[in-house]
């Protein structure tokens, strides 16, 4: 393992030698692709990201430890109650089971009774959400994200007091969120209160690494830009891998959907953040510093 670690760190050196202009272009291309995915999703489904029942309204009944094929369950519920339901399987180290989704207009109690007949020993977990409540959650979610973003931008500007690096930090955080949302679309993770919280959390995480890089490069005294960049890159790599490790173990060991969803969105965001901080932001900063020092 230590050898692997060294090899990766050697590979990171390639980034140091890269042309700063190229460093800016690649992350922007990824950002563009993410935007296209989100717009495509909007065109196809009418929303930028698939909304979970917390936003749409409806019900979900979770049965832990049930190992019957989802199609079979859906079929027998249809036979017994005449209600169309969507059944999904989930599994993790902690156990597996199924989630049964019922649309907003249908009678949850009928479905619940049918399920009880089928699996008398399983204790269900039920969530029922009214459609207007979803409206409120969506409104609150958008509000929280927009305000948090503005708050973050103000804090960043106050700390650095130089426009170009500050704007890059803010853009990186934005791009992290956009890429995370695009990946949510690809992997079918729905927007819920939990994932909104995770997107907000991303703001915190991405600012973390970006501030590290910006501070190290702008306040470096005795090193060259390249040296300072390489040493920050190593720190950043250590940071990201530890956090990813912690999140992955969370994702593997829990079957609670709230925790799984938060963990996966944070993983998406951190991957995006690695690119946006260490390639995009680093590229911009190197150009910025070169220009500034050229003037002096």
């Amino acid at each position: 393992m230590p050898e692997v670690d060294n090899v990766i760190k050697e590979k990171l050196k390639l980034l140091v030698e890269m042309d700063p202009k190229k460093m800016i272009i690649y992350p922007l291309i990824v950002f563009g692709i993410a935007i296209i995915i989100i717009i495509a999703n909007y065109v196809m489904t009418g929303s930028f990201v698939k909304e979970g029942i917390e936003l749409r309204g409806g019900s979900v009944i979770t049965l832990q430890g049930v190992n019957v094929s989802p199609d079979e369950i859906a079929k027998s519920i249809k036979e017994k109650t005449g209600i169309d339901v969507t059944v999904e399987k989930f599994s993790g180290v902690g156990g597996s089971g199924v989630r049964v989704y019922v649309s907003a207009g249908d009678d949850v109690n009928l479905v619940r009774e049918a399920l009880k007949e089928m699996f008398p020993d399983v204790e269900p977990q039920t969530v029922v959400i009214g459609p207007t409540f979803g409206e409120i959650v969506r409104e609150q979610g958008i509000k929280a994200i927009v305000y948090a973003f503005i708050g973050m931008a103000i804090v960043v500007f106050l700390f650095f007091r130089v426009p170009v690096p500050s704007m890059t930090v803010v853009f990186s955080a934005f791009s992290d969120m956009i890429i995370a949302i695009a990946l949510m679309n690809i992997f079918g993770i729905e927007l819920s209160q939990a994932t909104i919280a995770a997107l907000l959390m991303l703001i915190g995480y991405s600012v973390d690494s970006n501030i590290l890089l910006t501070t190290r490069l702008l306040r470096r005294k005795e090193f060259t830009v390249e040296e300072a960049y390489y040493s920050s890159l190593k720190t950043g790599f250590t940071m990201s891998t530890t956090t990813l490790g912690a999140l992955a173990s969370l994702w593997i060991f829990s079957t609670a959907q709230v925790i799984d969803d938060i963990a996966s969105v944070l993983i998406f965001g951190l991957l995006a953040d690695f690119m946006n901080t260490w390639i995009l932001n680093a590229g911009v900063l190197r150009l910025y510093i070169a220009k500034r020092e050229g003037k002096e």
């Binding site: 230590p2 832990q64 180290v93 902690g94 109690n109 204790e123 977990q125 039920t126 969530v127 029922v128 959400i129 009214g130 207007t132 409540f133 409120i136 959650v137 609150q140 509000k143 929280a144 948090a148 973003f149 708050g151 973050m152 804090v155 960043v156 700390f159 209160q193 939990a194 909104i196 907000l200 959390m201 703001i203 915190g204 600012v207 973390d208 690494s209 501030i211 590290l212 501070t215 190290r216 005795e222 090193f223 040493s231 720190t235 250590t238 940071m239 891998t241 530890t242 956090t243 490790g245 912690a246 173990s249 969370l250 060991f253 829990s254 609670a256 709230v258 925790i259 938060i262 944070l266």
Partner: protein
């Protein structure tokens, strides 16, 4: 020597101090878990429109009173903002959960009854004044206005019947059969409920609501079934469960209520029937002249807080037939207690795994156990202190709160790495360039930490402020974790790392 230098440092002492407090808090107070972990139901109720705090208080009392008749233990009604009320009950069965939901969905139904005749319902209560103290009669009074029809009907009924009982009901179990224990039956026939009237409570509720009362003595389930024919449901009061099973098998809807330790048999009967009163008819009301301005008075000294509360409840009950706002259920979360136990274990396992993974990865990067162990120790202390504070303030740890703790630990580890690398970098630079102070290096590390902590706190405050739902827990523990990090654990880690990494020289 090394240990001494670490332990005698002020920041490390602060950390140890907080660790001790947390361990004590956890040991003595323990953690309280949210419903999504301990099991239970949470029902989010939306009010038709935003209301002021006074109306919110009325809604809260009305809901409490109505839900209390169900006999479910420990119901918590929590107003949230100006438009939501959350009803939370721990450890309920699915059946109880259903009853709670049905009760909330139904509008409260108010009846005023005299001699077995309902003379007023919610719509006849036109206006309820505020509770006040009447020093002349030394009683707490609730004045209200009756409709003209109801007042006339009552005047006729009560002619010459001063001292007779008037009952008020909120959500009585209409059309049901009550099977009651002997002591309950005796109490129902007693003077306490009869006052100076000539009808017992049993007779009055049968006549008014078709509620049949059967004492449970020497009767078989079959005989009860015969009596209960035509009743919507059978309610067992203070009667053991075997009967309930037998009746359920015969296809009846059966509910069981038992007495709480904090109530006597009279309170138990009142609660089960949704009965408020009985109130004595005063001389003035028994003259046959209709009066629309009436009041209920509870004789008690002014200092009697219980009496004042009772009066408050009566005033809400009078209003609740026509609650100022309509309620609708917006969200129901039900989780069985067994399932929650499973989640608790999973989270514990995931947490320990995350800690070990962090330690392992840190070790792989630096290949120094001297760094990996303090990093793990610091993260572990952070968790302990967050949990300790949660125990101290009795914060309900739900799944989002736990996710928040984990998120905080994630940023915590990141920042410890920043500190470590700054210190290691200093070692290198010292060899190459002329000395640059440890303080300046640490200063830079803490600038980075402070900037990112501020942004996280700003971002999370918005979540905390704007969300109705459980995500406030996520925001709360994240903010708490970040604060514990920058003020307690990170400074201590900085000191420990300074000693351990600097040691090499």
């Amino acid at each position: 020597m090394k240990w001494r230098r670490i332990l005698l440092n002020f920041r490390v002492i602060v950390l140890i101090f907080f660790l001790l407090i947390s361990i004590t808090a956890l040991a003595t107070r323990g953690l309280t878990f949210g419903l999504d972990i301990s099991g239970g139901i949470s029902i989010t109720v939306k009010l038709e429109k935003p209301v002021d705090s006074q109306t919110m208080e009325q809604v809260k009392i009305a809901l409490e009173q109505r839900l209390n008749t169900l006999g479910v233990k420990n119901i918590v009604v929590e107003p949230w903002g100006d438009q939501f009320v959350i009803v939370k009950v721990a450890n309920v069965t699915e059946e109880e959960a259903d009853q709670l939901i049905k009760t909330i969905e139904r509008q409260g139904v108010f009846y005023a009854e005299f001699q077995g005749i309902i003379f007023a319902t919610g719509k006849d209560i036109l206006n309820v004044g505020s509770v006040s103290y009447d020093p002349q009669h030394s009683a707490w009074v609730v004045p209200f206005r009756l409709s003209k029809e109801a007042a006339e009907k009552f005047a006729q009924l009560a002619l010459g019947k001063a001292g007779y009982p008037v009952d008020m009901f909120l959500d009585p179990p209409v059309n049901s059969t009550l099977v009651v224990s002997n002591r309950v039956y005796e109490a129902m026939l007693s003077k306490t409920f009869m006052l100076e009237g000539d009808m017992t409570l049993v007779e009055r509720i049968e006549k008014a609501f078709g509620i049949k009362v059967v004492p449970y003595a020497n009767v078989t389930p079959e005989e009860i079934a015969e009596i209960a024919k035509g009743s919507e449901r059978i309610i067992l009061l203070d009667v053991d469960g075997n009967l309930s099973k037998a009746l359920k098998e015969m296809g009846f809807e059966v509910e069981t209520r038992s007495m709480r330790s904090d109530e006597d048999v009279y309170d138990f009967i009142k609660r089960s029937l949704g009965l408020y009163g009985p109130y004595r008819v005063s001389e003035g009301l028994a003259t046959g002249n209709p009066s629309t301005e009436v009041m209920i008075s509870i004789t008690a000294p002014k200092t009697d807080i219980q009496a004042r509360q009772d009066a408050q409840v009566v005033s809400v009950v009078l209003r609740s037939g026509s609650l100022p706002v309509k309620l609708s259920i917006e969200r129901i979360d039900y989780i069985s207690p067994k399932l929650g136990e499973n989640f608790k274990r999973q989270v514990l396992v995931a947490g320990i795994a995350a800690l070990l993974v962090v330690g392992l990865i840190v070790f792989l990067h630096y290949r120094k156990i001297k760094i990996a162990i303090p990093v793990m120790f610091t993260s572990f202390s952070e968790v302990l202190i967050i949990l300790g504070i949660a125990a101290l303030i009795r914060w309900n740890l739900d799944l989002p709160s736990i996710a928040g703790i984990i998120a905080a630990i994630g940023t915590g580890v990141d920042q410890q790495i920043v500190i470590t690398d700054e210190l290691l970098g200093e070692e290198e630079s010292r060899r190459r360039v002329k000395r640059s102070g440890v303080l300046r290096r640490m200063g830079r590390a803490f600038f980075i930490i402070l900037a990112s902590a501020t942004t996280t706190i700003v971002a999370m405050s918005f979540l905390f402020k704007f969300f109705v739902g459980g995500l406030r827990g996520f925001a709360f523990t994240t903010i708490l974790g970040v604060l514990v990090g920058i003020f307690i654990t990170r400074p201590a880690y900085g000191e420990i790392a300074k000693v351990l990494i600097g040691e090499r020289r």
